[in-house]
Amino acid sequence: MNDAELAAVAQLVGEDVLAEDRAALEAAHANLAGAIEQLRAVSGEHPSDFDVRWTQ
């Protein structure tokens, strides 16, 4: 995680809790990065909203 992201977590839970969670958080972040790469590979429009119903 970058410094800004870590600072945001520290602001939320405090430095001590961040230190306790840091290793698990970094591992989880690596998998989030993989998910983002999967999403970047999708082409298409950027919709403004989402409709559950299908239009024919």
Binding site: L12, V13, V17, L18, N31, L32, L39, V42, P47, F50
Partner: protein, 461 residues
């Protein structure tokens, strides 16, 4: 024993005055007391309140004020769904002592239809699936119990409720249904009012029913919907039993392999597909590799939404969250607006591909296993949603379930066979507002295989 009556059977006997509501509710409560030491499915049981409501129901029915098939039927509610005056703590110390003033819309609707609230069932903490609740799998207590609606599934399986409500962000109703050999439904987004829930992600979450049969599950859903007309005819049990007109189901066998579905589960669900084929359902080979996009969309959406919804509690009391839940909430800080835009784009792409596949092949449903394997042993389990998939990792399970939530589609798990003596679910994904068609297809299969769905505890109870 009266607790063994499912919703439809009990409703018929109550309406015919062959069974009093007090008799039925008392029997279910006794069953709960008998099984609970072994399975730990409940966090709070309102025995007095349930018996009081049962007495009132008997008075009303005797006076000719019968409210319908749910009048006098007891039910349990996952501990993330609000119940007025009863604890709703989301399975978390961070929310200990939280007692809502109002029922969730689904609970209110069921009570207005005469159903009787028994209490609250165990959930993974805030339904995130990152911790280890005390609930035990009645088929094998050494194995994963299903989740995050863990208690709701187990309670129905052992007969401590004929039906329960769960919530489903990426399969949390269908997963315990599969593990416990039950029917669990994630309704179309918009079919029910989801207010009054401690959500993980409002855009993905849906309250859903779990019951022992398809008709029981449909009766429970009918009692929860915003508009009954959006589900089907008033006599929903008869509607579920009405045959479908030339049903066609799509199957992507290659995806099962690519997604790591075990050989044994593939074989069991192929056999279930063969049963459908032999009873008049047309099977269509389809290819939908895009379904795998549902997992990254779910992850990004959940991380951002969960932090927004639970960030205040996290900030106030970080030590009160389980470590796994806390890390997932913290990880929400790494999700940016750009990531959310990417997730929205992938969601729209997936929705369009699913829609095109259904329309091009004229499908009633897409069929798959509910879970990729039999429940892993608790000692081997990693619940971490962000890990790469392996045999004991639950993220692989989400692959087959998350597309329904991401696309807002109805999906259902019906008992689909056994592997090594453990239940496996047959998963049906349907069209928007095609909830009744899924119930009909599930009923078609259930009738064809005529399989009992009652767990027997190791103690013999």
């Amino acid at each position: 024993m009266k607790w063994q009556y499912g919703i439809e059977e009990a409703a018929r006997r109550i309406a015919a005055r062959e069974l009093s509501v007090v008799e039925y509710v008392s029997s279910v409560l006794d069953r709960l007391a008998e099984t609970e030491p072994e399975v730990s499915a409940w966090t709070y049981v309102d025995r007095e309140g349930a018996l009081r409501a049962a007495q009132q129901a008997d008075v009303e029915i005797a006076a000719g004020q019968h409210r319908g098939p749910l009048h006098g039927i007891p039910f349990g509610v996952k501990d993330v769904i609000d119940t007025a005056g009863l604890p709703t703590e989301g399975g978390s110390k961070a929310y200990a002592g939280r007692i809502p003033d109002h029922d969730a819309a689904t609970v209110r609707a069921l009570r207005e239809n005469g159903a009787i609230l028994l209490g609250k069932t165990v959930t993974h903490e805030i339904a995130y699936g990152q911790n280890f609740p005390p609930t035990r799998n009645p088929w094998d207590p050494s194995r994963y119990q299903g989740g995050s609606s863990a208690g709701s599934g187990v309670a129905v399986a052992v007969g401590s409720a004929p039906g329960c409500l769960g919530t489903d962000t990426s399969g949390s109703v269908r997963n315990p249904a599969s593990v416990n050999s039950l029917v669990g439904m994630r309704p179309t987004t918009g079919l029910i009012d989801g207010s009054g829930v401690m959500n993980l992600s409002e855009q993905l979450d849906q309250v859903g029913p779990i019951a022992r049969t398809t008709v029981d599950c449909a009766l429970l859903l009918q009692g929860m919907v915003k508009s009954r007309a959006d589900l089907g005819p008033e006599d929903i049990a008869a509607a579920v039993r009405r045959p479908l007109n030339r049903p066609r189901v799509g199957v992507d066998f290659a995806a099962w392999h690519d997604w790591g579905v075990s050989t044994e589960v593939q074989a069991a669900i192929k056999e279930a597909v063969n049963v459908l084929a032999s009873t008049g359902v047309e099977i269509v080979d389809v290819s939908l590799p895009e379904l795998s996009l549902a997992l990254p969309v779910t992850l990004v959406s959940c991380l951002a939404d969960a932090l927004r919804l639970h960030g205040s509690a996290l900030s106030d009391r970080p030590e009160d969250f389980e470590p796994g839940t806390r890390v997932m909430l913290e990880l929400g800080c790494a999700v940016t607006e750009e990531h959310l835009t990417l997730a929205r784009r992938a969601r729209a792409h997936l929705r369009d591909r699913v829609r095109a596949t259904f329309l091009d092949a004229d499908l009633t449903a897409l069929v798959s296993p509910t879970l990729s394997g039999i429940p892993p042993r608790l000692s081997d389990l990693s619940t971490d949603l962000t890990r790469e998939s392996d045999e004991a990792d639950l993220s692989s399970a989400l692959l087959l379930l998350a597309p329904a939530n991401v696309c807002g589609l109805p999906a259902l798990s019906v008992p689909g066979g056994f592997v090594n003596g453990l239940p496996v679910g047959l998963h049906l994904l349907g069209r928007p507002y095609g909830d009744l068609a899924l119930f009909r297809l599930a009923q078609h299969y259930e009738t064809a295989v005529a399989r009992p769905a009652q767990a027997t505890l190791r103690s013999g109870r």
